[in-house]
C-alpha cells in the first residue's frame, strides 16, 4: 500500500511540473494523453469494472462534444458551464440505447455498440435535425475561461485537462471501493452468483453504462473547447477502438493501468513520428508484443484484500 502511494505521489508531481520542462508540442501530446486517459477511465467503468464488451464509447463522447458545441455556438453559453448539460444528455442517450441491449452476451453486445457508434457518426455526417453541420462539423467554438482567465495555450489546457483527470481519478477510486464498485466486481467475476446474492445485475450494469457515458460526455466538452472545431470523423469507430485498446492494454479494471495505457497508445505514435510512413506499422507490432508479454494488461488490478474484523478472526480461526 505504501509503495503505491509513493508511486502515485511521484507521478502526480511529475505530471504537475511537466509543462515547465517540455516544449509546446509535447505539452499538447500530454493534453491528448490526458483526454484519452479520462475517456478510457470512463470506459473502464463499463468495460473493466462491469465487464461489458463496449466498443462504441466514442458515441457518448460525440454527443457530449456536439451538445456543448451547438449550445455554445448558437446561444453563446460559456463552454465549461455546459459540461453538466453535455454529461446529462450523453447519459440519457446511453440510458435509452443501452436499456434494450444490456442483456446481450459478450460479443453480441460488442457489435451492437459498434453499431451505435456508426449510427451516431452517420447521423452526424448527414446533418441530423439540421443541427450538426454535416461533415463540416461545428466550428467557431469559443475558448473556455476559468474565473475570467481565458484558456488558449496548450499549457493552460494542460492544467484544465489534468485537473479534470485528477478529479476523475479521485472519484473513481471512491467508486471502486464503494458498495456499488464491489457489486460490479462481483458481476464481472461471476454474474450468476452475483445475481444469486441479491444483486440486481441488469440494473447495475445499466448504471455503470450511464456513469461511463456521462463522464465521456463531459470530456467531450473539453475536447470541443480545445479543438474549437469538431467534425464527425473525430468520433469514428476507430476512435472507440483506440479507447477499448487503452483499457485492455493498460489492464482492464485498473486505474493506473488505464492511465499508463493512454500514455502508450497516444504517446507511442508520436514517438514514432521519426519513422514517417512506417510509424503505424511499428505501432501495430508493438501492440501485439505488449499483449504477448503482458497478457493481463500492463498493470493488472491488484486482487482485492479486505481486512477481516479481529473478533471474527478470533472466533473463526483454529
Amino acid at each position: 500500500m505504501k509503495n503505491t502511494t509513493i508511486i502515485f505521489g511521484i507521478s502526480a508531481l511529475a505530471i504537475a511540473c511537466a509543462p515547465f520542462a517540455l516544449n509546446t508540442y509535447w505539452v499538447d501530446v500530454l493534453n491528448n494523453v490526458g483526454l484519452y486517459a479520462i475517456l478510457a477511465l470512463s470506459l473502464n467503468i463499463i468495460l473493466g469494472h462491469a465487464g461489458l464488451f463496449h466498443m462504441g464509447h466514442a458515441a457518448f463522447y460525440a454527443i457530449g462534444a456536439y451538445t456543448a458545441a451547438i449550445l455554445n455556438t448558437t446561444y453563446g453559453v460559456p463552454i465549461l458551464w455546459l459540461m453538466p448539460v453535455a454529461g446529462v444528455l450523453a447519459g440519457l442517450f446511453a440510458l435509452v440505447v443501452a436499456r434494450p441491449i444490456i442483456h446481450l452476451r459478450g460479443d453480441y453486445l460488442l457489435i451492437v455498440t459498434i453499431g451505435i457508434v456508426e449510427i451516431v457518426r452517420i447521423a452526424l455526417i448527414n446533418n441530423v435535425f439540421d443541427l450538426t453541420g454535416g461533415a463540416n462539423g461545428i466550428f467557431g467554438i469559443s475558448r473556455p475561461s476559468v474565473f475570467g482567465f481565458k484558456i488558449t495555450k496548450p499549457q493552460h489546457f494542460y492544467y484544465l485537462i489534468w485537473g479534470f483527470a485528477a478529479a476523475t481519478i479521485f472519484l473513481l477510486l471512491r467508486l471502486e471501493h464503494s458498495r456499488f464498485g464491489r457489486a460490479l466486481l462481483y458481476i464481472k467475476e461471476d454474474e450468476v452468483a452475483a445475481g444469486g446474492s441479491g444483486i440486481n445485475v441488469p440494473q447495475l450494469k445499466l448504471i455503470a453504462f450511464v456513469i461511463g457515458a456521462v463522464w465521456a460526455g463531459m470530456t467531450g466538452t473539453i475536447y470541443a473547447a480545445k479543438m474549437t472545431i469538431i467534425a464527425p470523423e473525430s468520433f469514428s469507430f476507430a476512435e472507440s477502438v483506440v479507447l477499448f485498446t487503452i483499457v485492455i492494454l493498460g489492464g482492464s479494471g485498473s486505474i493506473p493501468g488505464v492511465i499508463l495505457g493512454a500514455f502508450l497508445l497516444v504517446g507511442l505514435p508520436e514517438l514514432f513520428r521519426g519513422l514517417a510512413e512506417y510509424r503505424m506499422m511499428v505501432f501495430g507490432a508493438a501492440m501485439v508484443l505488449m499483449m504477448i508479454f503482458r497478457n493481463q494488461g500492463l498493470v493488472p488490478p491488484a486482487p482485492k484484500h479486505y481486512a477481516i474484523k479481529p473478533d471474527l478472526r478470533a472466533g473463526g480461526a483454529q
Binding site: 501530446v29 461533415a135 479543438m227 473525430s234 514517438l271 514514432f272 514517417a276 508484443l289 508479454f293
Partner: protein
C-alpha cells in the same frame, strides 16, 4: 519476463532518440504538413516527393540567398486531431512557413495553431469556402475555392444543355460543399435536380446506387467526390450498359481514375480542374515535368500534390524577395507584391483573403486512350 521487458524498453528508447534526432543547422526551414498515413496517404506521399524535389533544386542552385532550404515534414494522418498535433509540433521546429494540407477539415484544425504562432500557412488542397473567411492574415491557399468550382460546374452543365441533373456526393466536407453550391446555382437557373444523395466512400460495389440513379432517369450525373469512387462508378455503369454522361469535380483529376475504370468506361468522362503542368507550355511547368519524370520515373499523381509544389515556390519567392522569414512580412509580400507569379499550375496571385485569384478552372475530357484532354 523481466529481461524481455528491459529489451522492449531499450527498443522504445532507441526509437525515441531516432525520432527526436536530426541536428540543427543554419538553414531556412519550411514545414510540410501532409497525410503520409491514413486514407489520403497517396496524396501526401506525392506532396512530399514534389516539395522535396523542388527544395533539392533550390539547394542545388545555391539556396535562397545562400541559405539552404530544409523541409520539415509532419504526418497529419488525414485526421483533425493528429493534424492539430502535427501543427503544434511544427511550431516548435523554428520554421519560416508551412505548406499544407490536403483536406479542408484537417487544415481547419491546424489554422489557429499556426496563426497564434505567427507562421505563414499555404494550404494546398483545402477548398472549403470558410477557411479564408475567418480573418486569418497569415493564411493562403494555392487551390481555388468551392464556390468558384460550383459556379464553373453550373456554367458547364448549362452550356452542355443538360436540364435533368443528378448530383451525387460522398458526404465529405469538400464534396458536399461543392454539391450544395452547384445544386443551389442550378436550381436558380431553372434546372431540375432529379437525384441528390451521398455514397459511402471506400466501398467496391456501387450497383445499388447506380440502379437507383437509373430509375431517376437523369440526363447527366454530376459527381463531386473523389477519383476512386468515380472510377468504380464509371466501370459499373458500363457493365450495366447505361450510357448516361458523367461529369466530375476536381477531386477526380487523377490518372488512377482511368486505371480503375478502364479506358473504355472512362472515355467521354469530363471533369473540372485546375490545369495540370503537362497542359501548360510555360517553361516552369515543362521544367518541372522533366525533373519529376527524371526523379521518380512517372508523371505526378494528381494536381493537388502539384499545388503543394506551387505553395513551396511562392514561399521561396517571398523569402528571397523580402529577405525575411517573419510571417507578417511574407504575408504582406504575397498579398501586395506577388502578381502573376509563374507557377506550376498557371500564374499565381493572391487576394486580400489569401485566396488564389484568377480563372483557374478548365474542363477536361477523357479520350479513347484514357488521356485527359483539355477542352477549349
Amino acid at each position: 519476463m523481466n529481461k524481455r521487458l528491459i529489451t522492449l524498453g531499450c527498443l522504445t528508447l532507441a526509437l525515441l532518440v531516432l525520432a527526436i534526432g536530426p541536428a540543427w543547422a543554419k538553414t531556412i526551414r519550411i514545414g510540410l504538413m501532409c497525410p503520409l498515413t491514413g486514407s489520403w496517404a497517396s496524396e501526401g506521399q506525392d506532396m512530399k516527393q514534389i516539395v522535396e524535389l523542388l527544395a533539392a533544386e533550390t539547394n542545388k542552385a545555391g539556396g535562397i540567398d545562400g541559405a539552404q532550404v530544409e523541409i520539415v515534414i509532419e504526418d497529419d494522418g488525414g485526421d483533425p486531431r493528429q493534424a492539430a498535433l502535427a501543427a503544434t509540433r511544427l511550431t516548435t521546429k523554428d520554421i519560416a512557413a508551412v505548406i499544407g494540407t490536403y483536406g479542408s477539415s484537417i487544415t481547419e484544425a491546424s489554422q489557429n495553431i499556426y496563426a497564434e504562432s505567427g507562421i505563414l500557412q499555404v494550404a494546398t488542397g483545402s477548398t472549403a469556402i470558410r477557411l479564408s473567411e475567418k480573418n486569418l492574415p497569415l493564411f493562403f491557399r494555392t487551390c481555388p475555392r468551392d464556390d468558384e468550382q460550383g459556379l464553373v460546374a453550373a456554367k458547364t452543365l448549362t452550356s452542355l444543355g443538360f436540364s435533368k441533373i443528378a448530383i451525387l456526393h460522398d458526404n465529405t466536407s469538400y464534396a458536399k460543399g461543392l454539391a450544395d453550391e452547384a445544386k443551389a446555382l442550378l436550381e436558380k437557373d431553372g434546372k431540375t435536380i432529379v437525384f441528390y444523395d451521398a455514397l459511402t466512400p471506400g466501398e467496391r460495389d456501387y450497383n445499388a446506387i447506380l440502379t437507383k440513379l437509373k430509375s431517376a432517369d437523369p440526363e447527366v450525373i454530376f459527381f463531386t467526390a473523389y477519383y476512386p469512387e468515380a472510377g468504380m462508378l464509371l466501370r459499373q455503369k458500363m457493365e450495366m450498359n447505361w450510357n448516361v454522361p458523367m461529369i466530375g469535380g476536381d477531386a477526380t483529376n487523377n490518372p488512377d481514375l482511368v486505371k480503375i475504370a478502364g479506358n473504355k468506361a472512362a472515355e467521354g468522362y469530363m471533369f473540372l480542374s485546375p490545369p495540370v503542368p503537362a497542359d501548360l507550355d510555360t517553361p516552369e511547368a515543362k521544367a518541372f515535368m522533366t525533373a519529376y519524370q527524371g526523379a521518380y520515373g512517372s508523371a505526378p499523381g494528381s494536381v493537388w500534390a502539384v499545388l503543394a509544389g506551387d505553395a513551396y515556390r511562392v514561399i521561396a519567392e517571398a523569402i528571397a524577395k523580402t529577405g525575411d522569414t517573419s510571417g507578417e512580412k511574407l504575408a504582406a509580400y504575397l498579398k501586395a507584391n506577388l502578381k502573376d507569379f509563374p507557377g506550376l499550375t498557371g500564374t499565381v496571385s493572391f487576394n486580400d483573403k489569401g485566396d488564389r485569384v484568377g480563372d483557374l478552372y478548365r474542363v477536361y475530357k477523357v479520350d479513347a486512350n484514357g488521356a485527359f484532354v483539355l477542352q477549349p
